[in-house]
Structure formats: structure tokens, C-alpha cells
Subunit: 220 residues, 2 copies
Amino acid sequence: MPTPKTTSLRRTRRSSDDLRNQILSAASELFLRDGYANTSIDAVIEKVGGSKRAIYSHFGGKDDLFAAMMANLSESALQAIASAEEKVAGDDVRVSLTKFARAVMRILMDPRTVALYRLIVSESARMPDLAEVFLANGPRRAASALAQLLQRYADAGALTISSAEEAAEHFIGMLRDDVYLEVLLGVRAPLGEKARNARVTQVVDIFLDGTLARRRPSVR
Amino acid sequence: MPTPKTTSLRRTRRSSDDLRNQILSAASELFLRDGYANTSIDAVIEKVGGSKRAIYSHFGGKDDLFAAMMANLSESALQAIASAEEKVAGDDVRVSLTKFARAVMRILMDPRTVALYRLIVSESARMPDLAEVFLANGPRRAASALAQLLQRYADAGALTISSAEEAAEHFIGMLRDDVYLEVLLGVRAPLGEKARNARVTQVVDIFLDGTLARRRPSVR
DNA sequence: GTCTATATTGCGATAGAC
DNA sequence: GTCTATCGCAATATAGAC
């Protein structure tokens, strides 16, 4: 059978949901690559096939298509962050931080994340809600997860930090340094796993040897 | 007296240089505020007065006007960085780093820098040279100045660092953390002097207590 | 002023779902 | 067969570069 029955409710030639998803997918690719202003409705429709009308009946307009796409993207981004949070189960501070940092670096250097980051910076002025959603689901979420981790170690006497929140922000800042800026600006390819891990080790060393309590010469 | 229309080279009322500078100034303001696509030639002309013809004869087109404006801006940015480099004359590591970091933070949080940063991220895909010029005059220059400073202290035995370059990048990364991202996205106002200095102290403490040689319990 | 690009809408035709 | 979403194409409107 060419068309195995759709388990869902109605239309099937290319079900309404399929069309919607295909539009979202094509729009993501183009918006992420070329930005909002340089992506035309025609270009999206050319990738998907069909009529421009489909976009307007499904989404309402270009702005709404863009918003829908960003909402869609934030879901997958959120899942990535959530999986990173689970990686911090190690007992040793250095091991925990390293795991966390590697996960963050992997997400940061993902080409999709890079493009999303760039798009957010470009368009947040036009759509303020965009920035809020992105910050809440991405950076703030990662920072507060890390802050909790740091606080636990601080309570256990392994770390000496004045503010877990700020320390977490600084730690993540170290991961997202000039190298990341260069990736963001497209003058350098995203770091591969080996290079990422090397930088993570550097960062963890700098960070930890400043916050490790020195009373107990334990872990080293 | 019927004003003889000077068809080409000579201009009288407003000197050619003045007009050029006024155009650049108006263009800077608009481009920085609204971005490339959302700034129209008409809007620039409206601010300056005169005819659209002026822009095309002076610059050639919108792209060229934009490029000229960016080149113009990078000069002042360069001066700011250069002034930061001079501030590192202190003898004590902590004092030197603090001075340097305060200067960097002041530049970073300058609304003009923020707008420039945002514009670079938005447009570097369209104009790759932009990113190179910006990186060379800004971030890379600051990082390498800091790296030299760090290396001096390392040579003197005050710091233990494996790579001065990378350490410098991480240090600056700590300064440009999530808080800066929020400023960049416009959801938070740039930090005032007091808040900046507080963060600088945090960053220097984290950084130094990890890189200070512990053999000699000297400086602390 | 001219011309191109592009967002947005109008509407008859069509092809599956029911 | 009817119904409805989609299609294809044309038309409108506006902005903005030149």
C-alpha cells in the first residue's frame, strides 16, 4: 500500500500535520541559515512545495511562522539541557564538573545551537519574548543547575564560594569564551570532541583550584 | 542670481567632508539601533538632510555605507582597548588583573559596544570581513594583551599556568558571562560601575586563587 | 522617479477523505 | 457525490534600493 492508513483523525494526502511540520522544518533551516529578513516566504514554499496559502492558513504570517519555529526549536534545546543536568551524578567534584562542562560544551558547539544563538541575538530586538524564552530554557537553566551542584559541594565542605549563582555564571562564561565568539561569527569551525575536552580540563582546573577548600588536602 | 548647479565635483554649502561625517554619524546611530535590514537609506537621509544622491556618490551603496561605518567605529573601539592595556602597570598580580578587568568590563558594558557586538553577530554572515576586523581590533587584541601580562607574572613565578593564551581567553570569558548575554539581548540594562566592580572582584578571586603559585604563600 | 523584491490576499480548480 | 484542505497562479500593496 502506498499510503498506509494514518492512525490519526483525518486528512492524509499529505496530512495537515505533515504539511505543518514540513513547513516548520524548512523554515527552521532557512531562518537559521539566512536570518529573518533574508528568508522569504517564497523560499520556504519552494522547499516544501505547495502554495503560499498553506503558510498563511497554518500560521497566519511570517512573524507567526518565525515564532512557531522558535517555540519548536526550544523544545529540542530544552531536552539537551535536561540531559546535561543528569550527568552530574559523580561523587568527586572534579569529575562532576568535568562531566557537566563537557555536556555544556557539546551543546554549545552544536552547529544548530550556534545558529540559534546567532538568530536570537539578531532578532531579540524585534521580538523581546524570544530572548526571555531562550534565556529561561537555555542559559539560565544551565546556570541554575550548576549553581545547585556547586552549592551541594560547598555545603559538604569541598568548595569555598561566596555565591554559587555567580560562580556558576562565571564557570559557564569560561566555557563560552573568545573561541566560542569566533565560532559564532563563523570564522572558525565548531570545536571537535577532543578540542572541547581539552578546554574543559583547562577550565575545570582554573575554576576548581580556586574554589577547592584548602583545609583538607584531599582530592588532589 | 541663479545658482549654477554644480553637477559634479565641487560642493559649497556644506563641505564634502562634513557631509560625509554627518552621514556616517547618522548611519551609525541607525544601524546600531535597528540593524542593517531595518535601516533604510531614506531614514539616514532624513536625519542628515539633503538628497539621497549624496550617499550614493559618497559611498556607492547601502553595503558600502555600512562597511564604511563599521570601519569608522572600529577606530574608536580600538582606542578604548588600547587605553585598557595601559592600565596594567601595577606590581601586584591581583591589582593588575583587577585594573585590567575593570577596564574590559567598562568597555563591554558601554551601550555602544553592546550595540556593536550585536550588529557584528547579526551581520558577520553577510560580510565575513567584518568579523575579522572586529576580532582583531577587539577581543583578540584584549586577549593577547592579557596573555602577555599573565606570561610576565608566570615567568616571575607568581602564577602557574599551562597556557597564557588560553588562560587569558578564559578570564575574559568569565567577564563576559550570562549577565552580559542578558545585556546583549536587551533584557537587562548594562551594569553600573559598582556592579561591574563587584563582579570583577569575584572573577579575579576565582581566577587567581587557581593560578597563584602556592609554593610561596606570599602575596595573600 | 523607476524598478525590483516580497509580504499578503483572492479565487477557481483539484484531489483525496468521508 | 459532497466536502474541505490544499494547490496554483494571479493580483494587490508597500517598501526600499538605486
